[in-house]
């Protein structure tokens, strides 16, 4: 097999894995043409978070932070163990964000300013590439202290989050406004074409309902920045920042596969350097760096003299002008310890800011089945799969509701959507167990099991129609899904402005029955700031965030 064939195989592999990843994100939704095999428990037909479970960084960091390797995360060994022998093949062949960066870097680059000598220059190994190792060890330090910060920069959750909560909703909104604009022109054929275009999108990319997500501006900016940086330096993200790349770089320390340069036939044309993705010094006269190489094989394919070869057990022989490659990572022990300690120190700092639970936002309502907040922050990789799969668009990335530490972790905003009582999809798709999987019985409860509670509802008597305005309503009671209803009505005779007697039914909440699903808040007609609302108190996952002395009465 020639090297060009292998390189073509790599290209196919990149496209295939990218498409699989995107397809899985697209399938992380409750589709309309769902076949009801067992209607009592609705489950997705595919293991949509499987791609995230192949992520060695997520596996390592959740292991450090939580002490356990959750379910499918064992799959990550399928990536990690071959890396020990081969090096960072994942970055060059599989990583969907890496492929996206690859394509963004090469897209029309021959005509851009970055070519020739300048491109060669930027493709040499630079000290800035050490940053990713500092990021990695910083995240590891934080994880040891129980705070999983790696998810912010881990490429797989980052891409899932960006596509799921920013790109796809934006595409949906854009296509809707395009259809509306085409309709408003009043030109028949144009409207027809727009409608056909929308139908195609609807069948392929779009979810059943357009979704909105709180605080996605930051997510979108980070994603666009990562893509844009490729226009200046090839795969800048992968070279300089990616903690997963750094982890795989560290794990290629004992690789038996690598690049060998033949000094004799090399004419120093530097074509290898022009084609290099990882900036790992494939050219003569510099030490090739195993930990930076993506194994894309571009250099070997570009070499006209055949002086570059990837092979098992590459020679370690050095000459005066041609140092052998090194598997060592270019960071000093001192810097490793420094960044590790930085990560260790940042967690107490995060948590010293406010008394950890006492001053947490009352509106930080976690998805049903979430584990206690401290453990939750040690597991959530912020992939956004729960937000995407939620049929009611109830789950949203936080901004600072969970503190800076909890940026982009999921929270429920009942005003936008409530927690569907019989739905357990978010726990099904969570790849790390931050949201544990609930059975229907554990979600809604039965004679022996208390229901899973996420919050408690409160009536704002100064805004509620029967309480404040002598008007009938009861919508919250109508929507309350528990049996018997947690919201109950008391009939009262009140007086309107003219002094006439009006009989109204005033809502009250029974905290022993309320599960905090937020259906009442969602349905309340006082639209901007609801007259009935939920706060996190009473959530099943917390021992202390409680009102009642006697909890979990069945």
């Amino acid at each position: 097999m020639t090297v060009t064939t292998v390189r073509n195989l790599r290209r196919v592999s990149q496209v295939v894995f990218f498409l699989i990843f995107v397809w899985l994100v697209l399938k992380t939704t409750f589709e309309v043409d769902f076949s009801p095999a067992d209607v009592s428990e609705i489950a997705l037909p595919y293991p949509v978070s499987i791609a995230l479970q192949f992520d060695p960084l997520a596996a390592l960091m959740t292991l450090l932070a939580s002490g356990t390797l959750y379910k499918g995360l064992l799959w990550s060994l399928v990536i990690l163990i071959p890396t020990i022998f081969l090096g960072r093949f994942f970055c060059g062949w599989i990583c969907p964000l890496g492929s996206l960066n690859h394509w963004m870097s090469e897209f029309r680059s021959e005509r851009s300013a970055r070519r020739g000598k300048k491109k060669m220059d930027t493709n040499r190994y630079r000290p800035y590439q050490r940053i990713k190792y500092y990021v990695l060890f910083f995240c590891a330090g934080a994880a040891v202290m129980g705070s999983l910060q790696a998810g912010l920069l881990d490429p797989l959750p980052l891409l899932a989050r960006s596509i799921g909560t920013a790109v796809l909703p934006a595409v949906h909104a854009l296509s809707l406004s395009a259809v509306t604009a085409a309709n408003d022109t009043g030109i028949g054929p144009l409207a027809w074409v727009a409608a056909a275009f929308y139908d195609v999108l609807n069948a392929t990319l779009l979810s059943y309902r357009p979704a909105n997500f709180h605080a996605i501006v930051g997510i979108a900016i980070v994603f666009v920045l990562i893509l844009l940086l490729n226009r200046f330096i090839t795969r800048f993200w992968c070279r300089a920042l990616c903690p997963l790349g750094a982890l795989l770089g560290v794990f290629s320390r004992f690789a038996i596969f690598g690049l060998q340069k033949d000094e004799v036939c090399c004419t120093e044309c530097n074509r290898c350097l022009l084609a290099c993705q990882g900036a790992d010094n494939p050219d003569l006269g510099r030490r090739w760096r195993q930990s930076e190489c993506h194994l894309c094989l571009n250099c070997q394919a570009a070499c006209p003299e055949g002086s570059i070869r990837f092979r098992f057990f590459p020679s370690r022989e050095e000459t005066q002008t041609n140092p052998a490659g090194t598997p060592k990572v270019d960071v000093t022990r001192r810097k490793v310890v420094g960044s590790l300690l930085g990560g260790v120190a940042v967690v107490p700092l995060f948590r010293a800011g406010d008394a950890f639970e006492a001053n947490r936002s009352a509106f930080l309502i976690r998805p049903p089945g979430s584990i206690p907040e401290e453990d939750f922050l040690g597991r959530c990789i912020r992939c956004g799969q729960c937000m995407r799969v939620c049929p009611n668009n109830a789950l949203h990335p936080t901004l600072f509701e969970g503190g800076l530490e909890g940026l982009w972790t999921p929270m429920l905003i009942a005003r936008i959507g409530y927690c569907e009582p019989t739905c357990t999809l978010c726990g099904q798709v969570c790849p790390t167990g931050a949201i544990s999987e609930l059975t229907l019985t554990r979600k809604v409860g039965d004679d022996d099991t208390p229901p899973n509670r996420i919050a408690t509802a409160f009536v704002d008597r100064s805004r509620c129609l029967p309480w404040a305005m002598a008007m009938p309503c009861i919508v919250c009671e109508e929507w309350c899904p528990t049996s018997p209803k947690a919201i109950y009505l008391k009939e009262e005779i009140v007086f309107d402005r003219e002094g006439n007697e009006v009989e109204v039914q005033r809502p009250h909440v029974d905290p022993a029955l309320c599960t905090g699903c937020g259906a009442c808040e969602y349905a309340c007609p006082v639209h901007d700031r609801k007259a009935v609302y939920i706060t996190s108190v009473g959530e099943s996952r917390s021992e202390t965030n409680q009102i009642l002395l006697e909890r979990d009465r069945v």
């Binding site: 009592s40 009611n392 009938p472 919508v475 109508e478 049996s483 007609p525």
Partner: protein, 317 residues
């Protein structure tokens, strides 16, 4: 500088300045509010009154399909209501993410049987849809209605935002509201409610079921629920009302959840008079029609009669 060159060099600037000014003037104080296309209903779904037939028929049978057929035959049979070549829309109550046994949604077997009857009568298309309260995907799935109706040959629509049209309802309270287009753009409309308790309107049966044709913020309708129900019923006027009283939700309505709140009645009613259907249906909940505000108001407005026994009533058990 020559005149010619002066003109050549100032010309473009003047042209752009003129265009800028003209654009400003053109758009100055322009009304840019989005046009709302409001449609008024033109089709009537009702069929002519036949004094020889009862306005309301009731049948009891543990098999809901046989109960439906018995009740329907007593009121003239399907051929009285659906004719060859017509498009029919069925409006079951699929409001909630509940299973059939919980009695919050219309029985799927009834929807399937009605679909089959309509198709046998020559209908070219039977559409089954509802504007659910809970997520429509879950509601149509767990209610069993989607599967049953599709198997019987119906087209099941789960509404999306673009499916609504603004309709002039012409009510005393409800003037213009977004209505799911499938309830307007059809030839025959068959209302298929279920009998449930409701804390504000006391019962939700036939007329109340039409809340489910509306989009928009319909939770505001509760502020004058009786008038809202009557406005809607006066607007819709279905071809036929088929009331599912096979299971009746006595408490915890309209979505229920506990089987303890469900009473098995094994009854199906067919009606051309929806007020009569509501009046009889309310009795399953231990209510007299005169205790229910919207039934009284509908009777008074001439929509039908709540004294159903006087106006033609048949009961088969």
């Amino acid at each position: 500088m020559e005149r010619r060159e002066f003109l050549r060099r100032t010309g473009p600037a003047v042209a752009v300045a003129a265009a800028t000014g003209a654009t400003g003037l053109l758009f100055h104080n322009r009304q840019t509010a989005r046009r709302r296309t409001v449609i008024s209903k033109i089709t009537s779904f009702e069929i002519p009154v036949d004094p020889t037939l009862p306005g309301l028929s009731l049948a009891r049978n543990p098999d809901p399909v046989r109960a439906l057929n018995t009740a329907l035959d007593a009121i003239g049979g399907i051929t009285r209501f659906v004719h060859a070549g017509e498009r029919v829309t069925l409006k079951p109550n699929v409001g909630w993410d509940r299973t059939p046994a919980q009695g919050a949604n219309t029985h799927p077997a009834l929807v399937a049987e009605m679909t089959r009857l309509c198709l046998d009568a020559g209908a070219i298309e039977v559409t089954v849809t509802d504007v659910s309260c809970n997520d429509p995907r879950r509601s149509f799935l767990r209610s069993g209605v989607r599967e049953a109706a599709e198997r019987a040959g119906a087209r099941v629509i789960l509404p999306v935002d673009s499916d609504y049209v603004d309709v002039r309802l012409g009510g005393a309270l409800l003037t213009t509201w977004p209505v799911l287009k499938h309830f307007v753009e059809t030839d025959r409309l068959i209302n298929m409610p279920i009998v449930k308790q409701h804390s504000l309107s006391r019962c939700t049966i036939a007329m109340k079921n039409f809340f489910g044709i509306l989009g928009g913020r319909r939770n505001q309708l509760h502020q004058d629920i009786d008038q809202s129900i009557v406005d809607l019923a006066a607007f819709v006027r279905p071809t036929l009302t088929v009331v599912d009283a096979t299971r009746v939700l006595l408490r915890g309505g309209p979505q229920g959840g506990s089987l303890d709140d469900v009473s098995i009645e094994d009854t199906v009613m067919c009606a051309t008079d929806q007020v009569a259907a509501d009046a009889r249906g309310a009795e399953f909940l231990g209510l007299q029609a005169r205790q229910v505000g919207h039934i009284v108001l509908a009777d008074r407005s001439g929509l039908g009669t709540m004294h159903y026994r006087a106006a033609g009533y048949s009961e088969t058990t």
